[in-house]
């Protein structure tokens, strides 16, 4: 469903991504692991074009995203409106929740459908209520982010991303900022989502969680996918030397 080909990205002359190729099937869950600074988060941000990339292409259901199909050689982006529509096909959840602090949980979730997808206020609210109930926050609809725990905020953020009915969910270390006892409630929500058949790309340091829900795990090193395969292959029988070293260190 998603085809990533030859993505390259430099920051100030340092090449962070050095040609990433990755295909993700419909409903497939892929975990990205690797040392900090290996480019996992950058890759995730390139997928939904929060970060511009220098070369390569990304396709969703065969359709080229972000940059127009090359006719003349010069890379030309789509206009803002088209980019916005393309972005809505993917949801992203960040490490630091990033809820809008001046809006209640319900308003946070309504915002995208209401103004990004031009749904009526009623329809947006119905959808938001349904999603917040699904992530176990039916009682906290009218709470502001500052009144919610980290785990609750992150669940609102997941509901907010799902509210756009995305085909893919991008999760960027979504449990890393949480107190240990709050990790489970967020992981439970994601676990429940795997039943819904939505594709996910997750950047994570939680190996046991990756092993449990991911269909494949990709190990990134030096801006490239050094090894990719089924969780048990990657975690139990790693072939790449760097990966073995990495796994030894985090255990």
């Amino acid at each position: 469903m998603i085809e990533i080909r030859g993505i390259r990205k430099s920051f100030a002359g340092v090449e962070v991504l050095r040609g990433i190729d990755l295909s993700i099937g419909a409903g497939e869950i892929v975990a990205l692991i690797g040392r900090s600074g290996c480019g996992k988060t950058t890759l995730l941000r390139c997928i939904n074009f929060l970060e511009d990339y220098d070369a390569g292409e990304i396709k969703l259901d065969g359709e080229l995203l972000w940059y127009r199909p090359p006719e003349t050689g010069a890379r030309r982006r789509y206009p803002e409106k088209a980019l916005a529509r393309q972005r809505q096909r993917m949801g992203i959840v960040f490490q630091q929740y990033n809820l809008f602090p001046h809006m209640t949980a319900l308003e946070n979730v309504c915002l995208g459908p209401r103004f990004g997808q031009k749904l009526s206020a009623e329809a947006a609210e119905v959808r938001a209520r349904e999603l917040l109930t699904r992530v176990g926050l039916a009682e906290r609809l009218n709470s502001y982010p500052a009144q919610l725990s980290g785990g609750q905020q992150q669940r609102v953020a997941i509901a907010r991303a799902l509210a756009m009915k995305p085909q893919v969910l991008l999760l960027d270390e979504i449990t890393s900022a949480l107190d240990p006892e709050l990790v489970a409630e967020v992981e439970d929500v994601i676990r429940a989502l795997t039943q819904a058949g939505i594709a996910m790309v997750l950047v994570t340091h939680a190996m046991s969680f990756a092993r449990e829900i991911a269909h494949r795990i990709a190990y990134l090193a030096d801006g490239q996918i050094a090894e990719i395969g089924k969780p048990e292959e990657i975690l139990d029988r790693p072939r790449d030397k760097g990966l073995r070293e990495f796994l030894r260190r985090i255990r």
Binding site: L83, A84, N98, P101, H102, L111, G116, P145, Q147, A161
Partner: protein, 218 residues
């Protein structure tokens, strides 16, 4: 100083306050037009913004008042000093408030912009639903600062013969030679007006805090 002098000073204070409030209102309006220029994609607009701030903020209000008064007068013939006064303060406050608003925009954490982008919100919705409300909250304390300053800055308008608290005090002093008591009363009036604005602002702040906006979080 007689009770009737006190009454005169109270009236003059009311005029000071009116001038200040009108200028704050127009200045805020002008600032909301100016601030977006600071973030405009075109270099020329950004340069215009910087130039405006540089010139207006870099000129003493007193000089600005004289300049605008005589400039307006030479264009349109006789002009009411009250009109000229509001125009001067409006231009002056707009520069200060625009910078306050710009600070508010810069205070919005980058990840929140990412959220807006990833939700595919149109620019106008981002501005209306996210940026404006957040800037209103971030900018409230420095904005109140400017409002309090505006009340005091209105005293400068006495130079272009706006009959306000400072000019009225001078008239009474010249007549009664009761320097200290008149000035003390004038100062008291200024204090009351500034204090009222401050209280109003604090109330607004705590109302916002009650609506879940803690301020220090994000």
């Amino acid at each position: 100083m007689t009770p009737s002098d006190l009454w005169v000073l109270a009236q003059a204070a009311a005029i000071s306050l009116l001038m200040a409030l009108a200028s704050i209102a127009f200045g805020t309006l002008l600032a909301t037009l100016l601030t977006p220029l600071a973030f405009a994609p075109w270099r020329l607009l950004r340069a215009f913004y910087r130039l405006y701030i540089f010139v207006v903020r870099g000129t003493p209000v007193l000089l600005l008042a004289l300049l605008v008064f005589y400039a307006l007068a030479s264009f349109w013939g006789r002009i009411s000093p009250y009109t000229a006064g509001v125009v001067v303060l409006t231009f002056y406050l707009a520069a200060l408030i625009a910078e306050v608003f710009r600070g508010g925009v810069l205070a919005i954490p980058r990840p929140l912009w990412d959220c807006c982008t990833s939700l595919g919100l149109p620019r106008l919705s981002i501005l209306r639903r996210v940026v404006s409300p957040l800037v209103a909250r971030y900018a409230l304390p420095p904005y109140l600062n400017v409002c309090v300053m505006a009340v005091k800055a209105s005293s400068v308008l006495s130079i272009i013969s706006v009959w306000e608290l400072t000019l009225a005090s001078r008239e009474i002093i010249e007549r009664t030679l009761d320097v200290y008591r008149v000035l003390a009363v004038a100062a008291l009036f200024y204090f009351i007006m500034c204090f009222a604005i401050d209280r109003l602002g604090r109330q607004l702040e705590s109302r916002l805090a009650a609506r879940g906006f803690a301020g220090e979080r994000l």
